[in-house]
């Protein structure tokens, strides 16, 4: 009895500490926002290493909240770093793609081995999304940054609505596969550790799913964001893949989609190691911690925090693009 009480107190303490940490992070971002509102007077007022360190710390915290909130790091990275750091949006988007790519690559092998990512489901979708991500990246680098900022702001606000309202279905009902998914053998079996049972799955509405992935890839390339926020609902709610398979396959798809777009940014000279590398390392370390804090952090609290952050960052991007809040 006493042990249970002590364990409960410890868990409560851990929860409070973790949530206090997140609250501090949120406040520091709002403070950064206030600083940015003053116009980032001299990018050189802070030395290069100060910005690199700030970027690393920011990405570390973004990595922590990205895992329990169920969004990829890239979708948080671009609006927040683009809004509150002095880097041009071109370089932020280039780094954002690499952040999403590195996270997806790190997770990819274990997802494939565990059956949570499925090669037969992923490859046809990834091919179309890769091709359209190239087009998105090229258009994103060709149009004025202000226009990209406005479109980014609107998209982020759309993601906020999607995150706040979208339902999830752990095991959607798929009565029969459609002809295309049947021909491509897009089905499988995965072991659900939580239920300790093997789950057989299949998908339907494949042509519409493929069409939507063309649009998703385009947005990923255009904004330099991972597209897990869009991949998972399409795979899960539309095509009927189980939630865990959808999340795993979505992450794996990003290894192909983001690498195509990343090449365009790299070849264009829009990747700076001083921005990309601290971001990638910070995000990966944060995600590593975040995965271990999954049992301590309250997912619903983190999710609300991330939605608030995205709402703030989306408004900032939109107002910055419109020239209202520079």
């Amino acid at each position: 009895m006493l042990n249970v009480a002590i364990s409960g107190l410890r868990n409560t303490g851990g929860l409070l500490k973790a949530n206090a940490l997140l609250l501090m992070f949120t406040l520091s971002l709002f403070a950064a926002g206030a600083y940015a509102a003053e116009g980032l007077p001299a990018a050189s007022a802070m030395p290069w290493w100060g910005w690199a360190l700030a970027l690393f710390i920011t990405c570390f915290f973004l990595g922590i909240v990205a895992v329990p909130s169920g969004v990829g790091g890239g979708v948080l990275f671009v609006p927040i770093v683009g809004g509150f750091f002095p880097f041009h949006l071109d370089f932020v988007r280039g780094a954002g793609l690499l952040v999403a790519l590195a996270s997806a690559l790190a997770a990819g092998p274990s997802l494939l081995r565990g059956g949570l990512a499925n090669l037969r489901l992923a490859l046809p979708l990834a091919v179309l999304a890769s091709a359209s991500s190239i087009a998105g990246a090229m258009i994103g680098l060709a149009i004025p940054a202000k226009l990209v900022q406005i479109a980014l702001g609107i998209t982020i606000l759309g993601i906020v609505v999607l995150m706040a309202s979208a339902k999830k279905s752990e095991f959607p009902e798929v009565a029969a596969p459609d002809r295309l998914s049947g021909a491509l053998a897009m089905h499988g079996i995965f072991h659900d550790a939580a239920r300790n049972q093997k789950i057989s799955w299949q998908v339907h509405r494949t042509p519409l799913g493929l069409t939507l992935f063309v649009g998703i890839g385009f947005l990923a390339g255009l904004f330099g964001m991972g597209a897990g926020w869009a991949n998972v609902p399409v795979l899960n709610l539309l095509m009927g893949a189980p939630l865990k398979v959808s999340a795993g396959t979505s992450s794996f798809i990003l290894t192909l989609v983001d690498s195509s777009a990343a090449w365009i940014y790299l070849n264009k000279g829009a990747v700076l190691a001083i921005i990309a590398v601290p971001s990638v390392i910070g995000m990966m370390l944060g995600a590593f911690i975040g995965a271990r804090l999954l049992h301590v952090l309250k997912a619903s609290v983190v999710r609300r925090l991330v939605i608030s952050l995205l709402l703030f960052a989306g408004l900032r991007a939109l107002l910055k693009g419109l020239g209202i809040w520079l």
Partner: protein, 140 residues
């Protein structure tokens, strides 16, 4: 036709893809960290001094390229001895490691006469190669 591991239900090609992806991503991250440390600690000279970076990282790409004379396409490879471009090696490696994974699963599909997935792999490979080629040029 049994093309999967009966215990895990993971296909042979998926396991092979995972193995190569694991090696590719780990080695890419190692290169990324090593070259970045060489860059920031000055073990490799930087073409654009680090203390000058805050003056150029807020510029649009086209303006940045114009002011710094930084190369586009694959020309950064000729400057690989300089810290700021050595750092791009790890990034290119990470961006390209899926190419190898696609190549190593193709023989499995070919042996199984799974022509549709062989074709999908070839198209995926071509899309990646096109993106990596540097032939697609854009600008503000």
């Amino acid at each position: 036709m049994n093309n999967s591991n009966s215990d895990t239900h993971i296909s042979v090609e998926q396991q092979r893809y995972a193995t190569w992806l694991s090696w590719g991503s780990r080695s890419g991250l190692a290169i990324l960290v090593a070259t970045f440390l060489a860059y920031v600690f000055g073990w490799l000279p930087a073409r654009i001094p680090l203390d000058q970076m805050p003056n150029v990282w807020s510029l649009p790409t086209s303006e940045y390229l114009h002011q710094t004379g930084a190369p586009t396409g694959w020309h950064w490879l000729t400057l690989i001895g300089q810290g700021d471009f050595a750092g791009l090696l790890g990034i290119a490696w990470l961006s390209g490691c899926s190419l190898l994974c696609l190549v190593v699963v193709m023989p499995i599909y070919a042996r199984r006469r799974d022509w549709i997935f062989l074709a999908i792999c070839i198209i995926a490979l071509l899309v990646q190669l096109l993106a990596a080629s540097g032939m697609l040029t854009v600008g503000h």
